[in-house]
């Protein structure tokens, strides 16, 4: 337990630096304002919108109690590949820079080291997402009148519950990407190789396979995470997507832990 806490605190110390926080705040602000503008101004009345579930929300959906924070959820859903690639690159870089070796000399409990690192990343992500959700809500509230979106239902208990639900959904989605990204990083260790594989898989590969094989939507982790983030699709419900992804996440965590614990650290 001590090893886990130390690993967690050390990783958090790397993340909670002034430069990182400033950069993260800037990106959050840009995502919040830019994302809110795109989602609000792209919204159409339900009668005119011919889209299935998982597409951009309609004006009516945005005007509901959870409309303000749904903007946040929709905006983040487009950042899946980016998040996955960031985690893959960050983990692989620890190997290619030799910092894993340095960390293991200070903290040889490898499972605790990996778990603490992931825990700190998720904590940082949770803080960043919470701030981004608030910023997105504020930006959406300011921009909503110009996009003809009613915001009367955005405050109150129902809106808060919906906001917490959106936050929880995004955190689950982020956790899935973080665990899968960590596993790819641990397995491949090289930044260029890990990034190439990560970008290819999370980007075109799954979508190309989806075009030629319909059941791909129900089985591929990236597509399932997208489906979950979108609140479900015509092929797979959000609940089933989450359950299937959970199996992938548990399996990936087991693989990453086993490989990291047993493999020689030679670079």
């Amino acid at each position: 337990m001590t090893a886990l806490v130390r690993s967690y605190r050390a990783e958090l110390a790397k993340l909670a630096r002034r430069r990182v926080l400033a950069l993260t705040a800037l990106v959050s602000l840009l995502v919040a304002v830019g994302g809110a503008a795109v989602v609000l101004y792209a919204a159409e009345p339900a009668a005119e919108a011919e889209r299935g579930r998982g597409a951009l929300p309609t004006l009516e959906e945005l005007a509901a109690a959870g409309g303000g924070t749904e903007v946040f959820r929709v905006v983040l859903a487009f950042a899946g590949t980016f998040l996955f690639v960031v985690v893959v690159g960050a983990v692989a870089a620890e190997f290619s820079r030799g910092t894993v070796r340095t960390m293991l000399l200070r903290q040889p409990h490898r499972t605790a080291l990996l778990a603490g690192k992931l825990g700190a990343l998720l904590t940082f992500a949770a803080g960043t997402l919470a701030a981004t959700e608030v910023l997105t809500w504020v930006a959406a509230r300011v921009l909503a009148p110009g996009a003809d979106v009613a915001t009367g239902a955005w405050t109150g208990a129902d809106a808060l519950v919906a906001g917490l639900g959106d936050f929880g959904a995004v955190m689950l989605w982020v956790t899935g990407y973080a665990v899968l990204g960590t596993t790819v990083g641990v397995l491949l260790r090289s930044v260029p190789v890990a990034l190439a594989v990560g970008i290819a898989w999370a980007g075109p590969v799954e979508h190309i396979l989806q075009d030629s094989w319909d059941p791909a939507s129900r089985f591929f982790p990236g597509l399932l995470l997208e489906a979950f983030a979108a609140g479900g699709t015509t092929d797979v419900s959000a609940g089933r997507a989450l359950a299937t992804v959970a199996v992938y996440v548990v399996a990936a965590a087991a693989v990453a832990t086993t490989v990291f614990s047993r493999r020689d650290v030679t670079s």
């Binding site: 130390r6 820079r97 340095t102 200070r106 040889p108 020689d264």
Partner: protein, 309 residues
């Protein structure tokens, strides 16, 4: 210097990658309280041996103990060990002080020691600069400072002078000497014995994964044979001088324009006089005639050459 209880003790330590044997049955004790030089050419197995001792690499065969705990349980002893393996391996975007703070938190060490360690490493004024902007020598010194975070009993340093200019080497040697003054045990590797001979009490010499020598540094030097060095005043007579020496039943070697003759149990002064007399008899005037003791580096290189021939 105490040499009773070994801090590192390995028995038959072996590492194979497929058919390639990197470390081949190394059995050795590293005594407590000394600076031990772990010497061998590049690829000799130094880093892999150290990595096995530090729990980074699993041995294919053999066993060992560090500070009384088995090497397959590094969690039991690494909090008492500071190490620098294959370069510092720190985060380039963090400052020197931030790097040390991360590692201090990871190891549960006192972060208040960081200014003291930065000063010890000669980085007192540079702790706030990003590690990525450091020179190679500064990076190595920060790596050693990081290894000292837990005030370790045992310091393991892998090629800490690698890639440094002479001034950088000297700074790192001084830093190691300062840590020795604090009564730590230090195991430090290099592919050049000359880099470490001034600071080592004990030597381990490895080549091709096999341990060639383990013992006191002065003992290694005592094994060095004296040799007689001769040079004719006229370089054209070097061949004739070689014949004169060989006629006396000796086996001279060439070292540039010099002849080098192993003394091998002869009285050096008597042998020098006999060769001087024989050379004069053949009309050869000697410009140089003296006894020299090979350096540790000479002995080390000859040991490696002998092993390979």
């Amino acid at each position: 210097m105490t040499t009773t209880t070994p801090v590192i003790s390995v028995d038959g330590l072996t590492k194979r990658y497929g058919d390639r044997v990197v470390v081949d049955g190394v059995t050795v004790d590293v005594p407590r309280g000394v600076v031990t030089g772990f010497i061998g050419p590049n690829g000799a197995g130094k880093t892999t041996t150290m990595a096995m001792v530090l729990g980074l690499v699993r041995p294919t065969a053999g066993q060992g103990e560090v500070l009384g705990s088995p090497i397959n349980r590094p969690g039991r002893y690494l909090h008492r060990v500071g190490a620098l393996i294959e370069g510092p391996g720190l985060w380039p975007g963090l400052t020197g002080a931030e790097n040390l703070a991360v590692l201090a938190r990871l190891g549960g060490h006192d972060v208040r020691r960081i200014p003291e360690l930065l000063a010890l490493a000669g980085l007192a004024g540079r702790g706030g600069d990003r590690y990525g902007e450091y020179s190679l020598g500064m990076k190595q010194r920060l790596g050693i400072a990081a290894a000292l975070l837990g005030d370790p009993e045992l310091l393991v340093l892998d090629e800490p002078t690698n890639g440094l200019d002479p001034a950088g080497m000297s700074e790192v040697r001084d830093l190691i000497a300062r840590t020795r003054a604090e009564h730590r045990t230090v195991l430090v590797s290099s592919h050049l014995l000359s880099e470490l001979e001034q600071i080592c009490d004990w030597l381990l010499i490895i080549d091709g994964g096999r341990l060639m020598y383990a013992g006191p540094a002065d003992g290694f030097a005592r094994h060095a044979r004296d040799e007689l060095v001769l040079a004719p005043a006229d370089p054209a007579q070097l061949l004739a001088l070689t014949d004169v020496v060989a006629a006396g039943g000796l086996e001279p070697g060439r070292d540039g324009d010099l002849l080098v003759v192993p003394v091998d149990g002869h009285d050096p002064r008597g042998l020098a006089a006999a060769l001087n007399h024989a050379a004069a008899r053949d009309g050869i005037v000697l410009a140089e005639l003296h006894v020299r003791r090979p350096t540790l580096e000479d002995r080390y290189l000859r040991m490696l050459e002998g092993d390979r021939s």
